[in-house]
């Protein structure tokens, strides 16, 4: 049976975790390639969805780019 940790690498998640530490932890657990920014608009849960990714400690620029849009562009067929 597949390890649950591997299964998570086939699922995608939004980044609605509200804090830089939360983004850092989520990326460490599931991989930055599985994450896409989310805001919950129009519900005012967060106004810092972009900032918590940009400021997440221990996350590379490439991973931040992927989370901010790269991953979603691929999945949704968006052009640069």
């Amino acid at each position: 049976m597949e390890d649950i940790a591997m299964t998570t690498r086939r699922e995608f998640y939004d980044t609605m975790v509200f804090s830089r530490e939360g983004v850092r932890h989520l990326a460490a657990e599931v991989g930055a390639g599985q994450l896409m920014v989310g805001t919950d608009s129009p519900y005012p849960w967060t106004t810092t969805a972009v900032d918590v990714i940009l400021e997440a400690p221990g996350v590379s620029d490439a991973d931040k780019v992927a989370m901010l849009g790269g991953n979603a562009m691929k999945l949704l067929g968006l052009r640069a």
Binding site: V17, F18, S19, E21, G22, H25, A28, E29, Y43, P44, W45, T46
Partner: protein, 338 residues
Amino acid sequence: MAEAVFVSCGGAGAPQGRRREVVVSGKRVKTVDVHAHCAVPAAMALMGRKLETEALLMADTRERLRAMDAQGIDVEALSINPYWYGADREVATELIRIQNETLAEICAAQPDRFVAFASVALQHPDLAAEQLEQGVKRYGLRGAGLGGSVEGRELSDPTFHPFWAKAEALGVLVFIHPQGTTELDRTGRLGGNGLLTNTIGNPLETTIALSHLIFEGTLDRFPGLKICAAHGGGYLPSYAARSNAVQTTFPHRMTGTLKKRPTEYLRQLYFDSIVFTPEALRHLAAEAGPGHIVMGTDYPFPWTQTSVDHILGTPELSDADKVAMLGGTAMGLLGIKG
């Protein structure tokens, strides 16, 4: 970080075998396991309860000590998961008396290896307060073990305030261990593969219990309360910041005023270290503070047999953090001498 393993003979009553001695920064560290289960059959008989596994028995502690020695656990803080919250006052009085007396005898027989949390009948809050005081003062027990709810009542329910007041006044640690989200069990949503009733049901109940203690103001009312939540506090520390966000997202759903932001209460609580990976422990330390994590094993249930190595092998922790998690913080909370 330097860790060495020494071999020595066991203490009085210990089995023949190798006792691992944990060393950090060249110093021997006394290690304490705050999450260790046991059972007292004479008390269970009053409720017609059967033993889940013989490994919970304390009549012969050789196998338990062998497991402690192999892993490098010096002291276990024993607790008994509540099964008596449905008992009437008379039965609950006798059951808890038997149980706390027996726990005291177990600890007295091997005081260098065992301390214990008192059992209390929280369904009768005034009685529970008496039982805690008696447990601490007469029997030398070090705190109380609670479930995550009491027959459908949340731990934040005002009827429990007399118990929290007593625990705060005594300055002793209260260990909260969940018993699953039994309300969900009935719907079947936690059925199927993976024992979800326990795997996620237990941490979910802890998440609910702690959230109520925060949002209902219980932790404001009793700021000196020392609470340790099992299983790393369930899911609360993993998604802590959402509890802050709700204050601005749905302010009209926040009745009353909390003295602190919800995530700040994590630093008023303690958590056991049963989160399995270095990444999870690093994150728990980031959210709660490294001084708020105390080692747990869940013995005799084999969820993990590497609790000591888990802490030693988490690279982001300082040696001081590791010493605190392995035993230093628990020794202070439980009154264990060095």
